[in-house]
């Protein structure tokens, strides 16, 4: 069992990296990239800032661990300090980032990955790192254009890729929130692991639902965006 003291101080100093890409993949949602300088486990995070005066924020890595670049998915918050700046940056400009760290990691066991919005990032990283066998991905969004990477995920995961959309409808998309989708499944597996990533309310609602359906809380690992 890992112990707290066995973690060395992550020494999360910010280092300068040069942006290699910054693409708006959906309205208000960007995928920013830079050359990978460290190994990482899919599911890990980095802290990023565009300016030493702005406090760095934590983002999940959204690329495979053998890819030459690290990518991060972010929502532009109009009243935010950091994301409008990040959104305006172009290749060649510099940002500051930490080494990857964090313990949101999946293994070979069967698992369900449940995400809302940009919470798809760690699971896409796991998928791109080859960890997708035995996994079912459930992605909840408000609008259809928020199913980031859907072509690739649909192609590879097939029926194990479930899309839930609460405000728009389309074929092969469950009409409603992730919690509604889970509620209408009669036999939720109770012996597998569940990984949740997204906003607090989704995480606590899904976690409560899973526990009420017999999933041990020890089988549920959550990452909350804050």
């Amino acid at each position: 069992m890992p112990k707290a003291e066995e973690y060395k101080n992550p020494n999360l100093e910010l280092i300068e990296v040069i942006i290699t890409g910054n693409q708006e993949i959906s309205p208000g949602v960007h995928l920013i990239s830079w050359k990978r300088t460290h190994d990482f486990h899919p599911g890990q995070v980095v802290k990023i800032t565009a300016d030493p005066k702005i406090a760095p924020r934590i983002y999940s890595i959204c690329s495979g661990n053998d890819e030459p670049e690290i990518r991060v998915l972010f929502n532009v918050k109009e009243d935010g300090l950091l994301t409008p700046k990040l959104a305006g940056m172009i290749p060649g400009m510099k940002i500051r980032t930490t080494k990857p760290y964090g313990s949101f990691k999946d293994g070979k066991e069967p698992a369900w990955w449940i995400a809302t919005g940009t919470g798809i990032a760690p699971f896409y990283s796991m998928f791109r790192s080859g960890i997708s066998e035995n996994k079912t991905l459930i992605h909840g969004v408000r609008q259809l254009n928020q199913f980031y990477f859907e072509d690739e995920l649909e192609w590879s995961l097939g029926d194990r890729y479930i899309r839930c959309c609460s405000q728009e409808q389309s074929c092969n998309v469950f009409p409603g929130r992730v919690t509604h989708y889970l509620n209408q499944i009669n036999d939720l597996p109770t012996t597998i692991n569940y990984y949740l990533c997204g906003k607090a309310l989704m995480v606590v609602e899904v976690r409560d639902l899973l526990i009420s359906r017999g999933v041990p809380y020890q089988n549920i690992l959550a990452e909350i965006y804050f």
Binding site: K199, Y217, L221
Partner: protein, 339 residues
């Protein structure tokens, strides 16, 4: 809706006085009326000229927010319900104990942290409180002149609303404000490291850290924040900080049956806290609906405390207060009121 004067610092008040063409010292006069006297309107600020009061009243309101509900426990604890400026609700607990009166304030509406054992987390996050809304929870209860201690342990994670929390601490501890000693204030965090470091630098108040288990894999199942801010990082930063002789750091530890109450946990706590002059507060678990967790039994709780004390870690058991009105640790929630 007019802007509120309550919740502004001396600097803010002085700036706005000058902007209105009033003498600079009007800022200090306003601060004293706002934070030291029993008035609730600008009209009552009688050492300000009539013209100054009219000017202020044209743009600002005093800004106190009355509680809309009070519940009283059989043990004397009171729980106040306050509306917020954005139409939500927060709860505040006032805990009397011999010659002390401790107020447990909220710093957010709801919480983003999603801890498995906490009722507040179940309502998700509905918004930040302003410094005024935080300080109002002390100033606007009938016992405000008798308050001896303040703990930021109500709804929300204080370091996820750092700027307003620091501002509220400035108001509470400044001579022009409530003039309370920072040694009577404790801010509790689940371990948001950047916020914690800024707090340690800018405030003199005590720090409490919600730990609940020394083992990472157990902690991340209870507290999702562990994924982003591992306990080891929190402890490393605390070890590096000079707390001086008066300032206190404590660790909060809810004791769950069969989960975190074993000799193995005692051993690990001793290991990771080695070198930190601290206290552990053991807390009885107050069950919340649908939780898979169970509080440890009284016998195990006492033994756990004794073992930690025997190992040289000052350990106390926090008395459960206000459980019958859902005011006890981890039970505050305004979900049914729409946040």
């Amino acid at each position: 809706m007019k802007e509120s004067l309550f919740g502004k610092t001396l600097n803010d008040l002085t700036t706005l006085a000058v902007e209105l063409g009033l003498p600079k010292f009007t800022g200090k006069q306003m601060a004293e009326w706002l934070y030291q006297k029993d008035i609730s309107s600008i009209e009552e600020m009688t050492n300000l000229s009539k013209k100054a009061r009219e000017l202020l009243a044209g743009k600002f309101e005093f800004g106190l927010i009355d509680s809309t509900k009070v519940q009283e426990s059989i043990d004397g604890t009171k729980k106040y319900l306050f509306p917020t400026n954005k139409g939500k609700f927060i709860e505040t607990a006032m805990i009397p104990d011999d010659d002390r009166k401790t107020v447990c304030v909220s710093s957010q509406v709801g919480c983003k942290m999603g801890c498995l054992f906490c009722m507040t987390g179940k309502q998700g996050f509905q918004g930040q409180l302003t410094a005024g809304e935080i300080v109002n929870q002390i100033r606007n209860i009938p016992e405000w002149h008798e308050v001896t201690n303040i703990v930021y342990m109500g709804m929300g994670e204080p370091f996820d609303n750092l700027e307003e929390v620091l501002k509220s601490l400035e108001i509470l501890t400044s001579e022009w404000g409530f003039a309370m000693s920072p040694r009577r204030i404790t801010v509790s965090t689940i371990g948001i490291v950047p916020g914690m470091l800024t707090f340690l630098e800018k405030s003199e108040a005590h720090l409490a850290v919600s730990m609940h288990t020394p083992f990472d894999d157990e902690r991340q199942k209870l507290m999702p924040v562990q994924v982003a801010y591992p306990l080891a990082e929190v402890i490393h930063e605390i070890k590096s900080w000079d707390f001086g002789r008066q300032r206190r750091v404590s660790f909060e530890y809810i004791v769950f049956k069969g989960l975190n109450d074993s000799p193995r946990h005692v051993q690990e706590l001793c290991k990771i806290l080695n070198g930190i002059k601290c206290r552990i507060n053991l807390i009885r678990f107050h069950p919340i609906p649908g939780t898979p967790l169970v509080g440890t039994d009284e016998n195990t709780l006492q033994k756990f405390k004794e073992k930690l004390n025997d190992k040289g870690i000052l350990t106390t058991i926090r008395a459960s207060r206000g459980q019958d009105i859902y005011a006890a640790c981890g039970l505050l929630s305004t979900k049914e009121l729409g946040g």
